[in-house]
């Protein structure tokens, strides 16, 4: 499971397309405005590779759209808007509280062996870490179970690696060109 050259090419094309949209203004823009354009185009390009099939990519597109709706619309003109929205409501938090409370009641009535204690502690630790993951993966709050969360995380990481590889190649090549 690694970024493929096809992914790299598609990302680059989409990213270039996004940057073109800023064409007139970007030449006279400030460094920070240019950076914003670069980063937003890169994010939409990365998310668009998934064509609305993953939760994280939909969430990232939604998030970028709140910052630059026009850009997103232009870059994604081929894709239906409905496929890009995460429809599940974030009921995860509420559900977990109830589950936790009922588990506490159940646990109080069981007498636990040492092994069970260790297993319970391990599970708690894993729960805390998955929450950390939810905070860092776009759309984490919509991922209702841990299996989905980790599947999405795997795909998100591969996509991020694509984004980083291509951006790094361009920056390295450009900087090398200058030093010569």
């Amino acid at each position: 499971m690694q970024p493929t050259s096809t992914m790299n090419e598609e990302f680059l094309k989409k990213w270039q397309m996004g940057l073109q949209m800023f064409r007139p203004s970007i030449d006279n823009a400030s460094v920070s405005e240019r950076k914003r354009a670069i980063k937003l185009s890169a994010d939409v390009a990365m998310a668009s590779l998934r064509k609305g099939t993953t939760c994280w990519s939909r969430a990232l597109i939604q998030k970028t759209a709140t910052e630059d709706n026009f850009l997103v619309r232009q870059m994604l003109s081929g894709i239906k808007e409905e496929t890009l929205i995460n429809k599940k409501l974030p009921k995860v938090m509420c559900h977990r509280k109830i589950v936790r409370r009922s588990k506490k009641i159940l646990m109080r009535r069981k007498s636990r062996s040492a092994m069970e204690e260790v297993a319970a502690k391990a599970k708690k630790l894993v729960k805390r870490k998955t929450q950390g993951l939810r905070n860092v993966v776009p759309g984490g709050e919509f991922m209702s179970n841990n299996v989905l969360l980790i599947q999405e995380t795997l795909d998100y990481i591969v996509s991020l690696q694509t984004q980083v590889n291509v951006m790094r190649s361009i920056v390295d090549a450009a900087e090398a060109g200058i030093e010569r």
Partner: protein, 94 residues
């Protein structure tokens, strides 16, 4: 009482299936993260893998941010050194 017991059994049955799935997915994560892939041992705990995953993702975010900064500054060199600007623009098909 009986309904609670049966719901408890149902709960543990379904969680057994997803425990295996999760273990499999965590292994996949382990192979994806450079920090953990180097260690090669199978003995990394799930919570360690998840922790390293969070760290790795944050590092990738930081790197994208940094690369965006650098690229933005490279594109700034338009007036002097038009050769450099030309290089970057052709790389970006700009």
């Amino acid at each position: 009482m009986s309904s609670r017991r049966s719901s408890r059994l149902r709960q543990s049955g379904s969680s057994r299936i997803s425990d295996d799935q999760i273990a499999d997915l965590v292994t996949k994560l382990q192979h994806l993260i450079p920090e953990l892939r180097r260690r090669r041992s199978d003995k990394v705990s799930a919570s360690k893998v998840l922790q390293e995953t969070c760290n790795y993702i944050r590092n990738l975010h930081r790197e994208v941010n940094d690369l965006s900064d650098r690229l933005s500054e490279l594109l700034a060199s338009t007036d002097d050194n038009s050769a450099e600007a030309a290089i970057i623009r052709s790389l970006l098909n700009y």
